[in-house]
């Protein structure tokens, strides 16, 4: 295989009319990489204060058929989840991420909600996950994989409920990357970063948009105004530090 590698790289250098890059140019390219400098960022999201960022996030998410419920505190989440599954005529059985952020929620207030923690299986109908960041620019959720946040939760069940803390809302994708780097250092990325913008859809038959092609038919966002993730985020950072 290394012969194939040399054929391709040699072919590229040949076509570019040069040998390997000189050390100076290589150093410049490395500096470009290390800088993580941003290209042009649309003003739409960056020029906003906090409250208007939240409004933009909600408006953009709703435009792509996500539903959004705003609640004041984590203690109100069980009621909202119970209300939502009842309103949508869904079973009161959830599979939820193992993320300790979900532990701060008083689920015992709604004893009829049955919650299993783990990855999603074929028969799971409703999942509940935290998110890493929420991108106001396009109403996009940014979720990252990890031992406490299996990726199957985001795609297998018919209905995906995502908890967003107000403090997680940022302007752009680049802000999401910066938050990730701030937590993990410049090392490896998580195995999967999922940017999710509305529920699954297809327009492959006569360009008619239908929701729920293969992924979730419904994406429900529960936006919590209260800032309660700080403690548990620190805890999960310790975990991730140990992993590295």
């Amino acid at each position: 295989m290394s012969e194939a590698r040399e054929r391709i790289l040699g072919g590229i250098r040949n076509a570019l009319g040069r040998g390997q890059l000189d050390p100076n140019t290589q150093a410049q390219l490395r500096a470009r990489l290390a800088a993580h400098s941003r290209n042009l960022i649309p003003a739409r999201a960056t020029a906003l204060d906090d409250a208007r960022s939240v409004d933009l996030f909600i408006a953009m998410a709703e435009e792509v058929q996500a539903t959004v419920a705003r609640v004041g505190a984590f203690s109100a989440v069980p009621d909202e989840v119970a209300r939502y599954v009842a309103a949508e005529n869904l079973p009161a059985e959830l599979v939820a991420a193992l993320d300790p952020n979900l532990d701060v929620i008083p689920w015992e207030m709604r004893p009829l909600l049955r919650i299993r923690r783990g990855r999603a299986e074929a028969e799971d109908k409703v999942s509940l996950t935290p998110c890493h960041s929420a991108i106001a620019e396009t109403g996009t959720l940014m979720l990252v994989s990890g031992r406490e946040t299996p990726t199957t939760l985001n795609f297998l069940p018919d209905t995906h409920i995502v908890l967003v803390c107000r403090c997680q809302i940022v302007a752009t994708y680049e802000d999401g990357f910066d938050r990730l780097r701030a937590e993990r250092g410049t090392g490896r990325l998580p195995r999967a970063i999922n940017f999710i913008t509305g529920p699954s859809r297809t327009a492959d038959i006569e360009q008619r948009i239908e929701l729920g092609a293969h992924g979730p038919r419904r994406l429900h966002i529960v936006l919590v105004e209260e800032d309660r993730v700080t403690a548990s985020v620190e805890k999960s950072q310790q975990h991730k530090g140990a992993e590295r």
């Binding site: 194939a4 990357f177 195995r191 999922n194 492959d204 006569e206 992993e243």
Partner: protein, 471 residues
């Protein structure tokens, strides 16, 4: 895939006469351009972003060897493996070797144009491995044994009645009396049919929209979520991609992502954009145990040194197809290979040779819409002209065409003679058509007059009128 680009003229004629195709294309030619326009109008920075997208790609291509080596080292550091494939045969062989090493029987596939380019499905079938396309459009055409007709909407050539007919013929186990009149019902049926396939597959193969050098990641952009199920559920994930997909940083990818969905479907952002880095990590409850990347060259590196280098900026958004009057009239199958429309008219001769694909760069009115909507500003008409030059230089056109072109060129290089001939022709035709104002038939022009009248000139050539006005 066996190319039929040589038969473009016959293919195009068949397309024009196909009522279903014309109905299906009618929906596409209004929908896509309208949605793109609305999306770009909402983003005042769109034109500047195009310039940045072009610059990012140019920068990467100028240092492609560096970024590919960096990319590979980061894939390896995250536990994955890169398989370099100079040719389609080597790409297919790498996939076979991986599939055999895990005893794979079925493979689920997300949409990948590179997989089409190397003929992966036929290859897997010939080797006793069943490929299952999971993108709805790809699934439909796989059942129909057809190639894709569009790079992001592979079944765009079909109307819903044809899809229903295919599902009835192929989904034997279902109630024959079920209703299949609406796309909703067909989506649900495909979802139900494919779900167990996702869960049972041994290997998942996706393409990549971008590769990120600094992190060793692959990025896929989908709306259905099929790509994510394909790459999350099986034990092995294979990314089937090509060398020009690499970009330096996540920030560079973000800029190109802002261009991609808006140019392609007119969405602000596609439903799912996924950045994958290596196999599952210790303690993870899901994700593939193995992560492989097949990096195909297939003639791309050689293009870097030619006048077709700009083509390697292409991010496969299909805006050029969606805005092309020729594509909108004849559909994608007429082009006879994997990549149709203006980008195909440039790329196909590069990949399979101008001898086979000479018709494609000629199938253009040079209206320039493709270039004006390209998110990375590829000068598509200019490159089609380069192909026409090469075709002429290689003496591939028919002798009559060559003689006529040579005669015209000889005349056009002699302005005095050219003006005299043009003036004479304009006067003669103007006089001959003075009563009806048009011709039903004309010698040497029956290619035109067979299907429509030729308007008669006013009687003077433009040059003589111009000369008169300037006095």
């Amino acid at each position: 895939m066996l190319a039929t680009s040589r038969n473009f003229e016959a293919n195009a004629r068949a397309g024009l006469a196909d009522d279903n195709l014309q109905r299906a294309l009618g929906l596409a030619r209004t929908g896509f351009p309208l949605r793109r326009r609305l999306a770009t109008e909402r983003l005042p920075e769109f034109e500047e972003l195009r310039e940045e997208g072009r610059a990012i790609k140019d920068h990467t291509l100028a240092h492609l060897d560096f970024y590919l080596e960096l990319y590979e080292s980061n894939v390896v550091a995250s536990g994955g493996k890169v398989h370099w494939a100079p040719t389609p045969q080597e790409a297919c062989a790498a996939v076979r070797q991986i599939c055999r090493s895990v005893g794979a029987k079925t493979v689920t596939k997300g949409k990948s144009m590179v997989a089409e380019e190397v003929g992966l499905n036929e290859f897997l079938e010939a080797n006793g491995i069943t490929p299952i396309e999971t993108d709805l459009g790809e699934y439909i055409i796989q059942l129909r044994h057809e190639p894709p007709s569009h790079i992001i909407a592979p079944a765009i050539h079909l109307v819903k009645e044809q899809v229903a007919e295919t599902f009835r013929a192929e989904h034997h186990a279902l109630d024959p009396a079920r209703s299949l009149s609406e796309p909703r019902q067909m989506c649900d049926e495909a979802r139900a049919m494919l779900r167990p396939r996702f869960l049972a597959a041994d290997v998942g193969i996706t393409g990549a929209n971008f590769l990120v050098a600094e992190t060793g990641s692959s990025i896929i952009v989908t709306n259905e979520g099929n790509g994510d199920l394909t790459q999350t559920l099986p034990r092995v994930h294979i990314v089937m991609t090509s060398i020009e997909k690499v970009v330096p940083t996540l920030e560079d990818a973000a800029t190109l992502l802002r261009l991609l969905a808006r140019s392609a479907t007119g969405q602000e952002f596609s439903s799912y954009t996924t950045i994958s880095t290596g196999p599952r990590r210790p303690g993870d409850l899901d994700g593939p145990e193995q992560y492989h990347v097949i990096l195909l060259d297939n003639g791309r590196s050689a293009l870097l040194g030619t006048e077709f280098r700009d083509m390697l900026r292409c991010i496969r958004c299909a805006a050029c197809l969606n805005h092309c009057p020729v594509y909108a009239a004849v559909g994608g199958h007429a082009y006879g290979w994997v990549y149709p429309g203006p980008m195909g008219a440039v790329l196909t001769p590069s990949l399979i040779g101008i001898e086979e694909a000479g018709h494609l760069p000629n199938a253009s009115t040079f209206c320039g819409r493709c270039e004006s909507v390209c998110p990375v500003k590829i000068p598509l008409p200019k490159m089609m002209r380069h192909w026409r030059d090469r075709e002429f230089a290689k003496r591939l056109n028919p002798p009559v065409y060559r003689s006529a072109l040579s005669l015209w060129a000889w005349t056009a290089r002699r302005p005095a003679l050219y003006h005299a001939v043009a003036e004479l022709a304009a006067r003669t035709l103007g006089w001959a058509g003075r009563y009806r104002g048009r011709f039903r038939s004309l010698p040497l022009a029956n290619g035109w007059t067979a299907v429509r009248d030729m308007p008669a000139p006013e009687g003077r050539s433009f040059h003589s009128l111009w000369a008169e006005r300037r006095k």
